[in-house]
Each structure stands twice: as structure tokens, then as C-alpha cells.
């Protein structure tokens, strides 16, 4: 056997030295335990048994929200809650009797509440009652000296000053869900109130700030002995919105009332700032600030008009004749038609062996690009659509932003739908029928858009081909708008046609949207809810069978500063119902008194 020396003895002696060293340190640490446990043991045992360290949260005040002119939209108001620390009560029954007297509630109710907290340590204060009146707070303050177990906690609730009028855009708060807590990676605690919808949700991180805490030493009776440490709360940041409260309120007024279902979007086409965003019917978000009663929630959920839905972004509708804006831009850009191409309209035209009617039974005669929009001639667009084909139509509709969310800074936006043969195969498992292209040409058929997408499309026409990202926050940090490859001359012709709709005699909204003092350009749209043949008289039709009304527009016609899109669900005719609402918003914006107020 070959013996390798390997300097073994050196290694072994070093191992011995190291082992001794480690053992020495271990003994030193054991001595440390001996000191803490035996020499200081009584001190620490007393701390453990008689004194307690408690962490008390300091809630950060949530940021306020203002409109573009600095008008307060949301504020925080104090609300008083009654808590009880059961470990400090001499006799729980006496405590409850006192509370029952102050609150005017039967003692059995209070007993039942406490039973729900049985699993929670006695010294942890538990909630007994919410939203105390000031006189109740005062009584507890005065008589409570005998009952140190009670404490009135101040909690700040959100107060939405304009209630229903700003509900969909501001959103509301609710208790953080388990999923939200996990997703937030430590910034939410169970029980935290967090933004659930709208601005409150999107900008929750900014608005909420950071809660602080106090660590206090209390004795066995819960009396505060000393403050051990304090980390102040960082208040939430205030937000300024692009919203103009006056426009918002004007739009809300016009959509307020029974059978007034719809949405209004007002946007600056130059930068995408939303000046008004209204959905009707609405709800009172202040109900969510405190615990919602069961009946209230049920009523909101079961309302057939779904007031919680934000129709401006969450509902999709056929665009109707407003789609002709896209059709004409596409046709002129592609060179399928030029400004002077004319189509003869005799009230109907046959395609693929089937007659397609123009909305005007008598026909429009010879129609060019300008007249096609002004008169909203269906036959012109049927003809154009057939020549272009569905693929091109779909491509332009997407260029205008249809079929994908606009990227507005509130959640829940719907995609809408731009149909093409590929979609038909995939989603409907059936081929695309050529006749459908004809229907799509006037905005019927499977095309679906949100009112916000409609506003974005209109802004693109108004600003000369720039796709702006709609946003509610003022001074948003956004990339510069993207320029869409659309012929500038085509857009000019389309703008001229939209100007004629409102300002030339014979235009479809000449009687309903024209506003002396500012030139509005727009396009109306009427979406049939039931087939033409079944209709008798629009006025006498039950609400749910009435047509949907669109009006999308911008002003001034030269260098537009405002886009207004109005959608009225089952409103009836677009120019008759939707156009006057847009007109009223322009009147407000440009400071013109046009002497009209919402119909009752």
C-alpha cells in the first residue's frame, strides 16, 4: 500500500484549531442565551405577559381628484365607527347595554355581532357599528369614560360630489379581493379599500399613498404606556383630470331620465384628452363608500338597463351610417372612387340578385362624394363597398381604430368587431356572403364599435389622420400620436361632407345640430333594431324596438378643438335624437346660448 503523506498532520491540526474556535463561539452564544433568559429573564417575561407592543396603522389620506379647471370631483369625508376592545371590558353585558342605549339598537343585534368575532384575540378591537352620528359620537365621548373599552374610530370615506354624473369615469372603492392582494405584491393589506373601477382603479397606486404605523407599548389593561416608534403615512397624490365638469354635467343632464339610455364622449382631437364621458343610466357611487346594503346591490345588478356598465367603453353597437365616414375615406384613398365619381340613386339597387334599399325611398338622384355624406345616400356606399370588397373595408376600419381597444386609462374596454371572411370562418364557421359586404358598407351587418372608438375615429378625421390615445388624466405621459396612412385630400373631402351634413340645407342634421356662431361638422347614424318591414311608426314603437341613434361630430370645422360623439340606445333617429345633445355640448363649450334644454 502506497502511503501518501499529503501533509496530513498539518491539515489535521488545523481542523482541531478550527473546531476549538467554533466550539468557543458556540459557548459564547450559549452564554448570551443564558444572559437573556436567566439574568434578564424576569424582565422579558414581564414584557411578554404584562406589556404588549402593538402596531397601530395610520391610514394615508387618499388623493383628491379635480377636473381640468381645478374643480373638486372627489373628496374625503370623515365617518365614525365604534369599536370595542373586549379585553378592557369589566362586564361585556354592561358594555353592550350602554352601546345599545346610545345607538338605539337592540342588544341582541350587538351580541350577535360580537359572536362573529369569537375567533379574534380579545385585545384586538372589533367593529361594532359604522357611520355614527355626531351626537352618538359625543355621547360616547362623554359617558364613555366609564367604558374605556369603546373607541370611536375616524375613517375617511370617499364622497363623489357629482354622484351619478361622474360615476362611470371616476369609479369607486371596495375592499381588496384576495386576488388583488396577491397581485399587488405586498402593497395591499386585507381590508384595504382599493379602486375597483374607473380612475380610482387605474390610478390607485398614486391616489392611495402609503399607510404609516405606530408601535405603542400598552399595559395589560390596554392603556398606552409609551410610543415606541412611528412611521408617518405618505398621503396619496391628487389627480387633475382632463374632464371639464361643465361639459360632463351638460352631457349628463341630456342623458338623464327614464328611457334615456346611452353614452356621450367629448374629446380634444388634438391630444386625446377626454372632456366628458357619460354613460346612462348611472348609479350613485357614494353608496359604495359605505357597506352596500343587500337590496341596493341587487337593484343595481338586476336593473335591465345595467347602470353599472360604462356604455362608452363596455358596450358595442352597430355604427350605422356613421360608418360611411370610413367608407368614403377608404374609397378615395384607394382611388376606387374620386371626388367626382357619381352614382345614380333611385331609392334601391340590386346586388347579387337581391334589392338593397336606400333610406330615402324616392332616391337621391346623381350623388358624388360630397353629397353622399351630406345626404347619407345608401346606394352610393353599397356601390362603393361592392367595388372595394370586404378586405379593404376591414383594413380601413382597423386603421381608424375599430376592432381594438383605444387604450383609454380606465379598464373594461371592449374590442368591438371588424368582420372579414377570416373572422367569419373562425367565429361563425360559415363563409362570408358577398351580400354582407353590401350591408357592412352602410354600417349594418356584424360591425360593432364602442362610442369611444367612434369618437377616436372622428378625432382622426378631424385632426388630419393622427391616432390619438384617449385619456382622462390631464398631462398624461403618452407617446406622440401615430400618423395613419390615409390620403389627406380624402380626409378633406370627408370633412367637407360632414360639414355639409350640418350646415348645408338638405344635410341630414341641418335642422337639428346647426349652431349659430360655430361651424359643426358631423354624421348621424340610425341603427335598425328590428327589420324594416315590421316597422310601422317609430314614435309608437315600444322602447326596446326603437332604433339606436348615433351622432358623431367635431367643431370648429376648421382647426377642430372638440369631438363629440353621442349614442342613444333606442333613441330613435340619429339626427333627431342624438344631434341635439351634441349641439348642446358645443354650445356649452363655445359659450353660446342656444336656448335649448333637455326634453323632459
Amino acid at each position: 500500500m502506497q502511503v501518501v503523506r499529503e501533509h496530513r498532520d498539518d491539515l489535521v491540526s488545523r481542523v482541531r484549531v478550527l473546531t476549538t474556535l467554533v466550539t468557543g463561539v458556540l459557548v459564547a452564544i450559549a452564554t448570551g442565551f443564558w444572559f437573556v433568559q436567566l439574568v434578564q429573564g424576569d424582565y422579558y417575561r414581564e414584557l411578554a405577559e404584562n406589556n404588549r407592543l402593538r402596531k397601530l396603522p395610520i391610514k394615508a389620506p387618499r388623493g383628491l381628484i379635480y377636473d381640468r379647471k381645478g374643480r373638486l370631483l372627489v373628496e374625503n369625508v370623515p365617518s365614525y365607527n365604534l369599536t370595542i376592545d373586549r379585553s378592557r371590558s369589566d362586564r361585556l353585558e354592561d358594555s353592550l347595554e350602554f352601546a345599545s342605549g346610545v345607538l338605539g339598537r337592540p342588544i341582541e343585534d350587538l351580541r350577535k355581532i360580537l359572536e362573529g368575532y369569537q375567533g379574534i384575540p380579545q385585545f384586538k378591537p372589533v367593529l361594532l357599528a359604522e357611520n355614527l352620528t355626531l351626537s352618538e359620537v359625543a355621547r360616547i365621548g362623554v359617558e364613555g369614560l366609564r367604558f374605556p373599552e369603546f373607541e370611536v374610530e375616524v375613517q375617511h370615506l370617499r364622497l363623489y360630489r357629482h354622484r351619478e354624473q361622474t360615476a362611470h369615469l371616476l369609479g369607486y372603492l371596495g375592499e381588496a379581493s384576495q386576488a388583488e392582494i396577491e397581485e399587488a405584491n405586498g402593497s395591499y393589506q386585507p381590508g384595504d379599500m382599493v379602486g375597483k373601477k374607473g380612475i380610482e382603479q387605474t390610478y390607485d397606486a398614486k391616489l392611495r399613498g402609503a399607510d404609516g404605523e405606530r408601535v405603542v407599548v400598552v399595559d395589560s389593561r390596554g392603556e398606552l404606556l409609551e410610543e415606541y416608534g412611528k412611521k408617518p403615512a405618505v398621503p396619496g397624490r391628487n389627480l387633475t383630470l382632463a374632464i371639464d365638469l361643465e361639459l360632463q354635467q351638460e352631457a349628463a343632464r341630456w342623458l338623464d331620465g327614464p328611457e334615456k339610455v346611452g353614452a356621450v364622449v367629448a374629446m380634444d382631437p388634438r391630444n386625446g384628452e377626454i372632456l366628458a364621458l357619460v354613460s346612462s343610466p348611472s348609479y350613485n357611487p357614494n353608496l359604495f363608500a359605505r357597506r352596500l346594503q343587500k337590496g341596493e346591490w341587487k337593484a343595481l345588478i338586476e336593473d335591465p338597463n345595467h347602470p353599472l356598465q360604462n356604455r362608452a367603453i363596455q358596450n358595442t353597437y352597430s355604427p350605422g351610417s356613421t360608418f360611411k365616414i370610413i367608407m368614403e375615406t377608404a374609397g378615395l384613398t384607394e382611388g376606387t372612387f374620386d371626388d367626382h365619381t357619381t352614382v345614380g340613386c333611385a331609392g334601391a339597387k340590386s346586388f347579387y340578385g337581391r334589392p338593397f334599399r336606400c333610406w330615402r325611398a324616392g332616391g337621391h338622384g346623381s350623388v358624388n362624394a360630397h353629397l353622399a355624406l351630406k345626404l347619407s345616400c345608401d346606394v352610393y356606399f353599397y356601390t362603393l363597398g361592392q367595388k372595394m370588397g370586404i378586405e379593404k373595408i376591414a383594413r380601413y376600419a382597423r386603421l381608424f381604430g375599430f376592432g381594438s381597444p383605444t387604450g383609454i386609462d380606465i379598464q373594461g374596454e371592449k374590442h368591438g368587431l371588424v368582420p372579414d371572411p377570416e373572422w367569419s370562418e373562425k367565429a361563425r364557421k360559415q363563409p362570408w356572403y358577398p351580400g354582407e359586404t353590401i350591408s357592412v358598407s352602410i354600417g349594418q351587418g356584424p360591425v360593432l364599435v364602442t362610442p369611444l372608438q367612434m369618437a377616436e375615429m372622428t378625432a382622426l378625421v378631424a385632426n388630419g389622420g393622427y391616432k390619438v390615445v384617449p385619456h382622462l388624466i390631464k398631462n398624461a405621459d403618452l407617446p406622440p400620436p401615430e400618423h395613419v396612412p390615409i390620403d389627406e385630400n380624402a380626409l378633406r373631402t370627408v370633412r367637407g361632407g360632414m360639414w355639409a351634413v350640418v350646415n348645408e340645407p338638405g344635410g341630414t342634421a341641418y335642422g337639428s345640430a346647426r349652431l349659430p356662431g360655430v361651424e359643426i361638422a358631423g354624421k348621424s347614424g340610425t341603427v335598425q333594431v328590428i327589420a324594416y318591414a315590421q316597422r310601422l311608426n317609430t314614435h309608437n314603437l315600444p322602447f326596446k324596438y326603437r332604433d339606436h341613434a348615433w351622432f358623431t361630430s367635431f367643431a370648429p370645422a376648421e382647426n377642430p378643438r372638440l369631438v363629440v360623439t353621442v349614442f342613444a340606445e333606442h333613441g330613435g333617429g340619429g339626427s333627431r335624437v342624438a344631434a341635439p345633445i351634441a349641439q348642446a355640448i358645443y354650445a356649452k363649450y363655445f359659450g353660446i346660448d342656444h336656448g335649448k334644454s333637455p326634453p323632459p
Partner: protein
């Protein structure tokens, strides 16, 4: 089986007793937590025992021969964790493979120990030359830096005792040792100023002056000391610690398990546990001393250095001697990768021991 009869009883018994005490304490520590970690930890210990037997049955010379491959694999997994890692508690040091999550840094540490032992064993010198020391530093430094950028500085720090223990035993010149300590002090102050995040610096500061951060780490130190101190000589009794105090300790089933034990079993419990660690360490030292060759000595020293550091640091932390860091206690603290790795290294140490008479 002549091999099995020569197993070192001190090492295996102390490890088993510590694991049993750990299981009981984990159960008590989780009594106020949403889940009882006892069944899971029991499963880890069971798996650990199997791994112990497996790693003991390998001839450590084979492991050393394979160490290059293992080392490279370890580095690859550390890089993988940087790219695909699952973030937990601020550091992306978990790798998810199917339903399994594990911490490659633990396995890389073991591979690094094997590789370094092989390298140092090949040098038949009384004391190491500078070049050899530098190579050793690089061997340990590469995985250490990879772990540090995860960023898991606590995990990276665990490579230091491995390197230190093995170099000290392999042999350093006294003059060099003194120089190294001075350089380390200089480096330390450099890291303090440029390499540490606010919270890490805060932890050190809190150690030096706990009242500066009574809400964060100082609060934990105080809670830990209240728990330890209130145990006195005999403890408050099993499952009867005033958990109202420990409820505020975020990691009482892992990093602060000794505080739970100290509160419930008193100084006697702590002394017993520290005694068991002393038995474990001295048994390992005995195994190193009687190992057959240089490689065996160095391997055992490297592995036991890591255990020593964990034990010394964690117990010192619980009693308030050193700043709070996420360094768990071997065999006692809850944790899958950590428990398994401790049993594996115990297995390897036993493997060195049972082959002390065998010629290759």
C-alpha cells in the same frame, strides 16, 4: 455490511434528534399561521433521509471526479434562475420546473464545495501559494456573484464560510491571513458605502442601534429577545409560548424557530439544541481528522463549515448579537431545499467516514 457498522453514531444521531426537535417546533410555530407546516416539513425530512442514504452510498471520489460536471451544472442553473426565476420575497432565486420549485443556489453551493475540495486536494502543499488561493477564490466567486445578483446577498454570503473553512485547513501563511483580514475590512466598508441597498444598510444600523428603526428590524430583534428571554430556565411549555409576541415575527417557523424553541423550552432547551450542534460539529471534525486522504478532509471541512456558519449566525441573530438576515437553522428551520441539502451533506460526510479504511 462492514461499512454500515462503522457509521459515526454521534453525527447521525445528533442530526436525527435535531430534525425531530425541528419538526415539533415547526408544528408549534405554525399554530397561529394559516397552514401547519409540520406535514410538509415531515415530508422534507423523510426525503432528506432517503437522500442521505443515497449520497452516503456514493464513493466520494466518484463525486469528486464528477464535481466539474456538477459545478458547471450548478452555474447553468444559477444563470437559468436569473433568466426564468420565480420572484419570491424580493429575490428571483427560485426555479420552477413543472410543479416543483427549488433554489439552485443550495445545490450550486454543494457542487462548489465538491469542486473546490477536488482542486485543493490535488495540491500537495503544506501551505497554499497566492495563485492557488486566487484560483480557489474564483471557483467560489463565480457562483457567489451569480447568487448575489439575484439579488440574494444572504445566500451569497453562505459561500464565504465554505471558502474560508477549506482555505484555512488547506493552509494559509499567517502573514497572508492578516493581510486578508485587513483587505476584508476595507472591502466591507466599500460595500457598505456602494454595494448595499437602503434596507440592508438599515439592518446593520439597526443592529448597532436598534432604537433607530423600532418598526422594522429593531422591532423584530426586540420581539425575538422578548420571546427568548421570557422562556427563562424551563420555558413556558410546548405550544404555550405567548405567541401574541411571536405573531409579529414574520419567519418564526424558519429564521426565528430558535426563538420559538427558546420561549417554550427555556434555556435548557436552547442548551440541549446547541449541545446537539456541538456534537454534530465535533463528530464531523473527528471524521475529517480520521479521513483517508486530503480530499476527504477538505470535503468534510467545507461541508461542515457551512453548517457551522448557519448555526452560529442564526443563534447569534435570535439572541440579538448580529443583524437579522435570512439565514435558517440547519435541521430545525422549515424549508425544502435547505432540509434536503443538510441531509445530503450529512450523507456525504458519512460517506467519507465509512470509506476511511477502503483503498481505491
Amino acid at each position: 455490511m462492514r461499512l454500515l457498522s462503522s457509521i459515526d453514531g454521534g453525527l447521525i444521531l445528533s442530526a436525527l434528534l435535531l430534525a425531530a426537535i425541528g419538526l415539533a417546533t415547526v408544528h408549534s410555530a405554525s399554530s397561529e399561521l394559516p397552514v401547519d407546516y409540520f406535514p410538509r416539513q415531515a415530508a422534507w425530512v423523510a426525503i432528506g433521509l432517503v437522500l442521505l442514504v443515497i449520497s452516503m452510498s456514493f464513493d466520494y471520489h466518484v463525486l469528486l471526479d464528477l464535481s466539474v460536471v456538477l459545478y458547471v451544472l450548478g452555474l447553468v442553473s444559477l444563470v437559468a434562475v436569473l433568466v426564468f426565476g420565480v420572484v419570491r420575497g424580493g429575490a428571483a432565486n427560485w426555479l420552477q420546473i413543472g410543479p416543483w420549485q427549488f433554489q439552485p443556489s443550495e445545490f450550486a453551493k454543494l457542487a462548489t464545495g465538491l469542486f473546490l475540495a477536488r482542486y485543493l486536494a490535488s495540491l500537495n502543499m503544506r501551505v497554499l501559494e497566492i495563485r492557488q488561493i486566487l484560483i480557489s477564490v474564483v471557483i467560489v466567486g463565480v457562483p457567489m456573484v451569480l447568487v448575489a445578483v439575484e439579488p440574494d446577498k444572504g445566500g451569497a454570503a453562505m459561500y464565504a464560510p465554505l471558502l474560508a473553512g477549506m482555505l484555512l485547513v488547506a493552509g494559509l501563511r499567517m502573514r497572508l491571513l492578516v493581510t486578508a483580514i485587513l483587505v476584508a475590512l476595507a472591502l466591507g466598508s466599500g460595500i457598505w458605502m456602494f454595494g448595499m441597498r437602503g434596507y440592508q444598510r438599515q439592518r446593520v444600523l439597526t443592529y448597532l442601534a436598534p432604537e433607530t428603526d423600532p418598526l422594522g428590524a429593531g422591532y423584530q430583534v426586540r420581539q425575538s429577545k422578548i420571546a427568548v428571554g421570557s422562556g427563562k430556565l424551563l420555558g413556558q411549555g410546548y405550544m404555550r409560548g405567548t405567541q401574541s409576541q411571536l405573531r409579529f415575527l414574520p419567519a418564526r417557523h424558519t429564521d426565528f424557530i430558535l426563538a420559538v424553541l427558546a420561549e417554550e423550552w427555556g434555556f435548557l432547551g436552547v442548551a440541549a439544541v446547541l449541545g446537539l450542534y456541538a456534537v454534530y460539529i465535533s463528530s464531523a471534525a473527528r471524521i475529517a481528522i480520521r479521513a483517508r486522504d486530503r480530499a476527504g478532509i477538505l470535503l468534510v471541512v467545507g461541508l461542515v463549515s457551512i453548517v457551522c456558519f448557519h448555526v452560529l449566525y442564526n443563534s447569534a441573530m435570535v439572541v440579538g448579537f448580529v443583524p437579522i438576515t435570512g439565514i435558517p437553522l440547519p435541521f430545525l428551520s422549515y424549508g425544502g431545499s435547505f432540509t434536503m441539502i443538510n441531509f445530503i451533506s450529512t450523507g456525504i460526510i458519512l460517506g467519507v467516514d465509512i470509506r476511511r479504511y477502503v483503498n481505491r
